[in-house]
Amino acid sequence: MRASQMRTFDGIKLTARRELVERTRRDRSFLISTLVTLAILLAIIFVPKLLGANDPTEFNVGLAGAASQPIGQVLTAQAEAAGIRINLQQPASAADAEAAVRDGKLDLAVVDGRELVAKAEPDEQLSLLVQAASRAARAQQTLQSAGVDQAEIQAALAPPPLPVRSLEPVDEDARSKRTIATVAVFLLYGQLIGYCFAVAMGVVEEKSTRVVEVLLAAVRPVQLLAGKILGVGLVGLIQLAIIGAIGLAVAVASNTITLPPDATGTIGSVLLWFLLGYAFYSSMFAVAGAIVSRQEELQNTATPLNLLMIASFFIAFSSSVSGGGDTTLAKVSSFLPPVAPLIMPLRIAGGNAAPWEIALSLAIMLVSIVAVVLLAARLYEGAILRTGARVKLSDAWRSGRRQPATGRA
């Protein structure tokens, strides 16, 4: 008994190892898909930054005429506060200023403290800053000429900012946690759909090449199924870890996000839910593969599962955008096994999943995984040797019991 149990694990281990070795070491598509996903992830990280850099943070402003000069000092100070640099220039005359603006050497020119000259529509932020500076300069002049004390002018024109009182406690890390979780759910969804489909394709490959018959002379169907799911899942997990680690390192190094102190918790929960989601979906995809005999037919049988996954992804994603996972839809779908693996990491990261919700969701998830895996194993056994027309699930269910795996040791 013990020996045969050990053999059971041997069979699973060997088939899992084959998947791992063939897919990572012998197949270039692993490297390619890793690089492509990484490229997409880096694009997600850097594109907003690059787009942000196109928002100009430096302007050339010309001050023509003595009346324009007081604006300069105020403008520089206020712009600095807004994170914008202003290069002040002194065109000799109004005509010079206009020419410089026309040539694009100046973004804006203040002429004799009376008008702003722009080539066309001036940059909104710049024009707001210059208008404010001009108002302040004029007010200062007016007050000064009215004989008001310099200190009083300062106090009146630059009052301290109003304090802010938040009604709810502010989690400084919530934003970066949510960013991590959102990116993670994207990745997770990609890995889930990619590797579940890989399981289905692997099953069809074994069936269509008939190698399954040679395999089943040595291992039992459940061993073969378990080995494939574990092996392919491990490849997916390794890839997820590589992509996640590089992506996170780059994002932190480039200051795109600041790593919250419990980032490991967030990442850990993402990995956990990936495993649960994979366990839930992969065995169903294996059945989708087992009931057909050719790769082309797989599209048909896998489509319902793909749709289920896409729908779950959109529920999870939309609830993360609106309300950070705090909507009724988000709460209800936390208890639906197809959606839970995608939505729970978001809700946990956002801090709006109560402990009882997490526990209940986990429990429902585990129970449904056991049910789905048992069901799938039987269907797989019943269908894997039947080539030709697509196997009906009811037929697979009936003949699933006759295979040696269930009866004999």
């Binding site: 053999r7 088939t15 070795v21 490959e205 008939r210 190698v211 018959e213 002379a217 039992r220 006759r402």
Partner: protein
Amino acid sequence: MLELQGLTRRYGDVVALDDLSFTVREGQMFGFVGPNGAGKTTAMRIVLGVLEPDRGEVRWRGRPVDAETRRRFGYMPEERGLYPKMRVRDQLEYFARLHGLSTEDAASAAGYWIERLGVADRAGDRVEQLSLGNQQRVQLAAALVHNPEVLVLDEPFSGLDPVGVDVLAEVLADRAADGIPVIFSSHQLELVERLCEAVAIINRGRLVASGPVEELRASGGERRYQVEVADAATDWTSGLEGVTVLEKHNGRVVLAVEGDEQRVLDAARAAGRVTLFSAVQPSLTQLFRQVVQE
């Protein structure tokens, strides 16, 4: 001894096997023949545990065969099965490991069979890059790589060129000489007759004949004689009771004879000078046609 006992298997309403029993001795080359759809593949799949019978069982060395025992069987399915993208050596080592060999044993066994079957220069190639003939050699290596106690091969000769047939025949004879029962199905009956000690002929899921080839031929149906009579009238056989002329050319006739053959000889001598009178044993092909048509 490998014993198939009362194997019965239905697919819905179709009876694929109906109470099939026969025995293969250790060291015996055993031919398994029958028309297409007779149930050969089903029977072999049951022996390998790929399929479960509705009734009956398979015994090896007196004990019912279980999954553990079956791992020491070698199997080559009719529809060849290899991973097309896996490399030849990797694949053979993998199969050897699945059948319970250690890593080192698997590596050396794979190396041996790659060499022996003449695919050493392709060991690092993906299977899909090989010609069909070479793929078949790899398939055979996959059945042999774990040094099985029993060999079951479904149509191993189909698709092989004459050189490939010779290589395979030699390997199988070699295995049998090591005391392994080698059972294979084939439609090439001359080949079966040449290689096998014993055969089983099945039709529509039932056994119609089995036993040593010589015995079957000796007992098969009516006896035949080849007779040549010089200077005889061509119709010297007419009027002989229970004698049918099967072939006739250049004064030589092949006769099917019921009952005493001495009276046929007497009639021949009366007709002329008898230059040839010999018993002819039916070929396996003739036997096959006969039992399958009955």
